[in-house]
Symmetry: C2
Subunit: 222 residues, 2 copies
DNA sequence: CTGCATCCACTTTGATACTG
DNA sequence: CAGTATCAAAGTGGATGCAG
């Protein structure tokens, strides 16, 4: 605590009556939004997070989780019978960060060149890109499921009456269209690579093939 | 530079092929997004920013501006004849951060209680709230201009064929509807306070009074 | 005045090691 | 698996200096 304009404020607070400043106080610390990003895909254990956030110091992860829990963004759950252990999950408040996170990701994606050697390319990224590029307007009334493959990368997107559910791995029910992209060996398997292949027709399709155009219309932007 | 999993990366980079991580590398440092926020309203001089970001150390502001300029987000302009001096402005790339910033602000606003004594309440906040709460769908085809007053706070919103322009101070052309909110003396004059007053009918109107419902429909959410 | 640069105390982070 | 402990390095906050 320290003096600031006659008032006592925590060092980390900006002291502005502004939603953006408040958001940054809560999730603006280094690594915080990346933790939220990982949890947006599904709940994770401590070591899952450490793995997904390659390079985060253990003590920093520990601190961030406590802060996020304190803020009501993350929930610490002691998992029941099957795997038992500690699991971290987003609260509803944390899930409400999704639009902001996707908007940030859309902007940041434009500033991504090609993947550098050493860059981590995870299925999480593909799942988030699926959500970030999803065009609600184009999907109105649509019901269809897709599965995307590129080498060992597999993600799914299920659209039910215009609403999207997406995740890692195969679709829970057999997908209406399975897209398997032919990606050169020297290019990492990413959402971007799949879309590029799909546009060039360098894909193998299984299922309702005319859904490919629908996929491109609903899940990609020019 | 330092070693990390066999590759050399800058300490501040996250080493993930992910739009969100990239965005955070570029605008995730402390104060960076608040600088962008201030510039989103209009270009500013160094001292304007210092004032708007109450409490930012001079050296940190200086560093952030250089980093943002380096990243192509901010442009340093030497202002011409009238006022001369240095002016910082957003580049087009910087302006593209607006959707992300507004989404973050919408989330953060839900985590704002009432203004604390000592909180800075600026016209910038009201202008951004105007943009953040603007509902494109509801404004389709609309052309109308509004001016909001609450004590010394004045902001304007001009909707032209469904597109919004907003800023501090009176509208460039006389507004179709001028809303003057009656705000208790002990409550800071903010967008929130104006909306609350408008909903309760505690406003004085000048101009086309039936536009008040349109305003509430287009510029507020439940 | 504006637009920084410098100095220094303090805090946070990164890397690694270690424990229940 | 789920953290804690430790310590060096980098970053931040605050004050002040200073040229144009």
């Amino acid at each position: 605590m320290q003096a600031c304009y006659g008032e006592w404020v925590k060092r980390r607070e900006f002291g502005q009556y502004c939603g953006i400043a408040r958001a940054l106080e809560l999730v603006g610390e280094r690594w915080a939004l990346l933790v939220v990003r990982d949890l947006m895909i599904r709940p994770r254990r401590y070591t899952d997070l450490q793995e997904g956030l390659a390079g985060i110091p253990s003590n920093v992860l520990s601190t961030r989780l406590k802060e996020l829990e304190q803020s009501g963004i993350v929930e610490r759950q002691v998992a029941p019978a099957p795997q038992r252990g500690v699991v971290y999950a987003l609260t509803p408040l944390g899930q409400e960060l999704e639009p902001a996170l996707l908007a940030l990701g859309r902007w940041g994606s434009t500033q991504l060149g090609d993947p550098q050697p050493g860059d981590r390319v995870t299925p999480d990224g593909a799942t988030l890109n699926l959500r970030a590029n999803f065009r609600q307007e184009e999907a109105a009334g649509l019901t269809a499921s897709f599965e995307l493959h590129a080498r060992d990368l597999v993600v799914h997107a299920v659209v039910t009456d215009g609403k999207l559910t997406s995740g890692i791995g195969p679709a829970p029910e057999p997908a209406d269209l399975v897209i398997t992209a032919e990606v050169p060996d020297d290019v990492p398997a990413s959402y971007r690579a799949i879309v590029r292949a799909a546009r060039l027709g360098q894909v193998e399709l299984k299922g309702s093939k005319k859904l490919l155009d629908t996929f491109l219309r609903v899940f990609t932007r020019p």
